[in-house]
Symmetry: C2
Subunit: 150 residues, 2 copies
DNA sequence: CTATAGTCTATATTTCTAGTGTACTATGGG
DNA sequence: CCCATAGTACACTAGAAATATAGACTATAG
């Protein structure tokens, strides 16, 4: 599951990748319909993880800790949501056993979910904030197609 | 997320696919470490969805409503968990808009998550209860490899 | 020294998950 | 007809997680 938390985090990062200098939390919040205080907590988590840096006081704000093309969506989801995998027992980074499986290594469901996790990671770990921003949505694609036909 | 509910449901179906005749809920529950009453609710949902049939009274029980190779994991997750997609706005079958997106069609996050959903569906919709049962786990693969080397 | 803007701690609200309890209904066999 | 078996319906709850919110505190520029 992609929670609102991670979604907000990604939106904030896209925002920060768009503007040059430091951005105010307030500005990020209002421009992206994110509850201010909730965003604060998210920004702090990202800062603690080294994704963002911040400066206090007048003229302060947040900015990216490294270039937008060096931050992947997968990283952000792992930081904010804890895991990519659809089930904890299939997570590489946030593993937790199920209590109903006597022999986890032989669990076919877990095994299948590891395949799912891998295919998710393949997409999410190669998508950066930068490429996410530059991504053309399906609507764009449809519009292009229509334009090409016409 | 794959909830316990869906996991239990898949286990129950694998159980039913293994034995010929109708199985008792009690038997499925104890053999798979599933809380009995919780399983009851799951089996009823699967029955209402046409995946299972049941017979009451002495000699009764549950059995598959169609061959195990005609039931996909994707179907079961959609029935029991509601959706495959990591976020509701990217779901094909259980769509729900986010309330923070003014222009959903242009949301790059949603678009990315649709790609993720598609790649999950690609795996889950082609995996049947039958193929799930027959799946060799990574442990098996490792054992084989070791055996081949030795 | 003061307005600004991030930080910390605690708390509230809502929703979902996972599970339980009780009573009821249908069926087959004696 | 009765009774044990086995599924069905419905109500409910405890606990966790998601989604915020409030308020006091701290650092900094000017």
């Amino acid at each position: 599951m992609l929670t609102s938390k991670a979604k907000y985090g990604l939106k904030a990062l896209m925002h920060l990748a768009t503007y040059e200098g430091p951005c105010l939390a307030e500005e990020i919040a209002t421009e992206n319909n994110i509850p201010r205080k909730f965003l604060d907590a998210i920004l702090v988590e990202l800062r603690n993880a080294g994704i963002l840096t911040s400066r206090r006081g007048k003229g302060g704000g947040y900015h990216l800790g490294r270039p937008a093309d060096k931050i992947t969506v997968g990283q952000i989801i792992r930081i904010l949501d804890g895991s990519l995998a659809p089930i904890a027992c299939a997570s590489r980074t946030a593993y937790r056993p199920c209590n109903d499986c006597p022999n986890e290594e032989a669990c076919q469901i877990r095994d299948l979910m590891m395949d799912v996790r891998d295919s998710m990671a393949l997409i999410l770990d190669r998508t950066t904030i930068s490429s996410l921003k530059g991504r053309s949505t399906r609507k764009d694609a449809k519009l292009w197609e229509r334009a090409r036909r016409s």
